[in-house]
Amino acid sequence: MTIPPPFLPPPLDDDAQPFWDGCALGELRVQRCTDTGRLIFPPRPLSPHGSRRAPEWVAVSGRGTIWSFVVPHPPLLPDFERVAPYNVVVVALEEDPTIRMVGNLVAGSDGAIDQIDPAGLAIGEPVQVVFCPLGDGWVVPRWGRVPPG
């Protein structure tokens, strides 16, 4: 299954691969300090806490709340301009709200980033990660609404 574009495949740095490996397994991963237990994102070679050792990778729940959001309009890169306006959300993770992941609010793992009416977006709304399989082996984390109750 492939989902609607667009997605701009990121050039990865040396520390990023385990994040994407997690996505392929349906896990949202961040780093954790082995001394203090504090979560770390974006990934880096040493924990900035404790005795500055190499962090470990852990899976988080994938639950969070919308911290902020924007609705881009043209001019944009061509792939994004075709679907504009679309939403970009910044999600604060439940386990550590100072970790805020950039993504899109979608209706499901095959949803499009311009599908949800931006007028209904609200800061504070609870969301849950969804993993969207793309071509070229990418499995991309996006966010879905949490059903009431």
Partner: protein, 379 residues
Amino acid sequence: MKDQVAIVGIAQTPFAKRLPGSERSLAAQVIVEACADAGIDPSEIDGLASYTMETSEEVDIAKTVGAGDVSFFGQVGYGGGAGPGCVGMLAMAVATGQCRVGVAWRSRKRGSGVRPWASAAYSQLGTAQWSRPWGLLRPVDEIAVLWRRYMHEHGGTRDHLANVAISVREMANRNPGAVMHGRPLTRDDYHAARWISEPLCLFDNCLETDGALACVLVPAERAKDLRQRPVYVHSWAQGMPAQGHPMVNYWCDDPLLGPGWTCARQLYRNSDIGPADLDVAQIYDAFTPLVVLSFEAYGVCGRGEGGAFTEDGNIGLGGRLPVNTSGGGLSEAYVHGFNLINEGVRQLRGGSVNQVPGCETALVTAGECVPTSALILRR
């Protein structure tokens, strides 16, 4: 180094969407003109400072303008965070005797050149891999995230941003050299403008300009004997907050306490001039929200009061703190903020087109969105 170094020469090209000539030729031209403004022969230049994003290299500049032996050269990173840092770093070199005649400059053909965000290289920036894939593509999108959150936490409104855009446009309409001279902006115009990245519209964005500017620094003792009234570097600072990230500063305790807060603490620590003593402010304004956030960071109002500070004509001529008196990046020219430096100097010389009567102190800031810098200048 308080007041030990003075800015004694300034120059700039005309500003336009498209200028003839290369960035290097524009840079050399304004450096020679800034020396002429100071009454110093370019052969005396022995210190050079610019931005890491500057394309005109020190070696080319030095040989083109006919500098002598250069004993200090350095660059400051992070684009719109660099301007006051270039001047401050150079002033530090002059104050410590590493050089005696320093020139800082920025030359950029951003009006006729490519938009950086549209180039593949933009994706190579380290943090871009955590934001750009999902369509947070442009600086305006990255700042719109912060402003939406500011609206939620502190009650910021679109009218607060309109106040900024309209006020600096009024400044530009009295500045014949401003790109937007003769183009009035009303509140209705602002609200009717197309979205660029909701909640930001067209007029929340700076211009795209070709232009170059330079300034000349010498020790205070020498400045007294030159042709222009000296403008002293009273204090300067840089700021990179703990766990901060350029543009996408979403992974720290409070992203609305940006790099300006860090910079301001150091700036005022070395200053006899506090926020209440400022006569004019030149605030980096690539996007209108950065002006509101900077008011809070640099202490001209309290936290959460930046929006309200734009009201009641506070930031216009005759207001509590006239802001961006040449029109700033929003309405004069966007040259990575260097025009804010030259306008700060003009205010303290007494030669601005929007002169603040009796102006004795000026704040000049860089971008409240990247590792940043600021200057307090006095006459």
